[in-house]
Subunit: 251 residues, 2 copies
C-alpha cells in the first residue's frame, strides 16, 4: 500500500514500461472524446464518426463521438489532444471548447479498464460544412440523443453534453459561439430557441443581450422581403457572459 497510495513510490519511468520500482501495475487506457455541436438546417446537430472494423476493433461500424487515445508524444496536454481531434475531423482550430467530464470504468471498453476525458465544442454552421473528414457525419439531436446506437458509453456522454449545453444556455451567452461572424438579434434568438427547444420572449431576450457586454452592431443591415435587421458581431474579448438569472424559472 505504500508506494501506490498517494501517487507515491517508484522510480520515474516513461510510458507503460514494466519498471521494477513502483510503477509496475496495470494502467487504464486513456482517451479523449469531443462532443461537437453546431446548428444546421434549423436544428442542433452533433458530429459522429463511423468506426472501423479491423482486427479486434470493438463496436465495428458503429457511430461514435470523435476521439481516441491520448498520444503521449503528440499531445502536450488534454486540451491539446481535444483540439487535435476536433481539427482532424472538422478543420476548425479555435472553437468554444469546454471540459465536460470524464468517464472511466472497467467495462466501458472491452479492451480493458479505460477512462475518457470528454469535451464539448461549439462551432458555427459555416465552419461545420467546410473541411469535414470523410468518416464524419452530422446528426440532428432527437431529445437528449441521436438515432443511431453509439459505441461505448457515448450515448451517455452525449446526453450529459446536451444537458449541460441546455442548462448553460439558460444563463450564458454560449449560443453566440454557434453563430457566423455577422448575425442579427432575431437570428441569435432563434439559435437560443433551437438549443432550448422552446420559444423565448423577444423583448426580454433583446434587453438581456443588448445590456450584456457581448455583441456590437456593425455598419450593415440584413436585407430581406421585410424590415431590415441590424447586424451584430461578437465583441473581440468574447469570453462567455454569465447572466444573474435564468431565462424563466424552472417549473
Amino acid at each position: 500500500m505504500a508506494g501506490r497510495q498517494g501517487q507515491g513510490g517508484g522510480t520515474p519511468s516513461k510510458g507503460q514500461g514494466r519498471d521494477p520500482a513502483g510503477l509496475d501495475f496495470p494502467r487504464p487506457l486513456t482517451t479523449v472524446d469531443v462532443v461537437i455541436f453546431t446548428i444546421r438546417l434549423d436544428a442542433l446537430q452533433v458530429l459522429l464518426v463511423r468506426r472501423g472494423h479491423g482486427d479486434g476493433e470493438p463496436f465495428p461500424d458503429a457511430f461514435a463521438l470523435p476521439g481516441g487515445f491520448v498520444d503521449v508524444d503528440k499531445d502536450a496536454d488534454l486540451d491539446a489532444c481535444a483540439r487535435r481531434k476536433l481539427a482532424e475531423k472538422t478543420g476548425v482550430v479555435s472553437p468554444y471548447l469546454e471540459q465536460l467530464g470524464s468517464w472511466g470504468s472497467a467495462h466501458r471498453d472491452p479492451r480493458g479498464w479505460s477512462a475518457t476525458h470528454a469535451y464539448f465544442a461549439l462551432i458555427p454552421a459555416s465552419a461545420a460544412e467546410a473541411a469535414l473528414a470523410a468518416d464524419a457525419q452530422w446528426f440532428p439531436l432527437a431529445g437528449l440523443g441521436v438515432t443511431p446506437k453509439l459505441a461505448f458509453d457515448h450515448a451517455e456522454i452525449l446526453q450529459a453534453a446536451v444537458q449541460r449545453l441546455r442548462n448553460k444556455v439558460e444563463y450564458t451567452s454560449l449560443p453566440a459561439y454557434l453563430m457566423p461572424e455577422e448575425f442579427t438579434l432575431p437570428e441569435l434568438q432563434r439559435t437560443y430557441e433551437i438549443v432550448l427547444d422552446r420559444p423565448l420572449e423577444k423583448s426580454a431576450f433583446r434587453t438581456r443581450m443588448l445590456s450584456a457586454d457581448l455583441i456590437e452592431p456593425i455598419e450593415k443591415m440584413r436585407k430581406g422581403p421585410n424590415r431590415p435587421a441590424q447586424l451584430y458581431r461578437l465583441k473581440p474579448a468574447a469570453t462567455p457572459v454569465y447572466f444573474a438569472r435564468t431565462f424563466n424559472a424552472p417549473e
Copy 2:
C-alpha cells in the same frame, strides 16, 4: 493512424501489457484526486495529506490532495475510486461528491504523462473530526488556496475547486451538505457567508431557503441565551436545489 485513431484497433488486452496487435503504445498514468471541504472553526477548510519520501517519490514530504492511482482491480469506476480515497482518509462514506474536471499533461508528474480525475466533496464538520487518517490534516483556505506549497499541479486544482464551489453556492443549496444533521437557518446562512466570504441579507436568504423544497422543521429548538431558533433538517430526497437567480448580481 489506423488502429490508434478513434479508439480503434488491436486485440483486447488487460493492463499495460505489450500486446502486439494495436494497444502497444505508452499509456499515461491515471490518478484520482479529491478536494474535500468542510467548515471548521468558522472557516472553510480543505483536507491535505503529507506525501512520503521513499525511493523516486516525487514531491517528497510536500502536502497534496488526497488521491492516487486508479486501481484497476479495486476500482469499478472513477466514482468508486474517488469514494474509496475519501473513505480511506476520512471514514466518510456518503458525502456530496461531484466531478470537478481532469488535468492531464506530459509534465505535471515527473514520472511521465499523467492525467488525474479531480473530484470535490463536501462533508459536515462532525464527520470531519471522527476518523481522520494519520497523514491527513485540515487547512483553512486563504483566498483561493492554502498556505503550504502543494505537490504536482494541486494548487491549480484546489483553486478550480474553490472557484467552482463559490460559484455554485451563489445559486444552489450546496452548503446544506456542510451542515450537521440538525441546524438552524441562521447557522445555514453563516455557512453560506463563510463560503462566499461576504454577508448575505437575512430576509432574502430565509425566503429563498424556505420556499425551496430543501429543508423541513423538526420538533425542536436551538436554545441559547436569547430567542430560540427553529431547528431544521435536510429533506430525505436531498438532491441539490438550483435557484433561478444568483444571490446578488456580480458587479
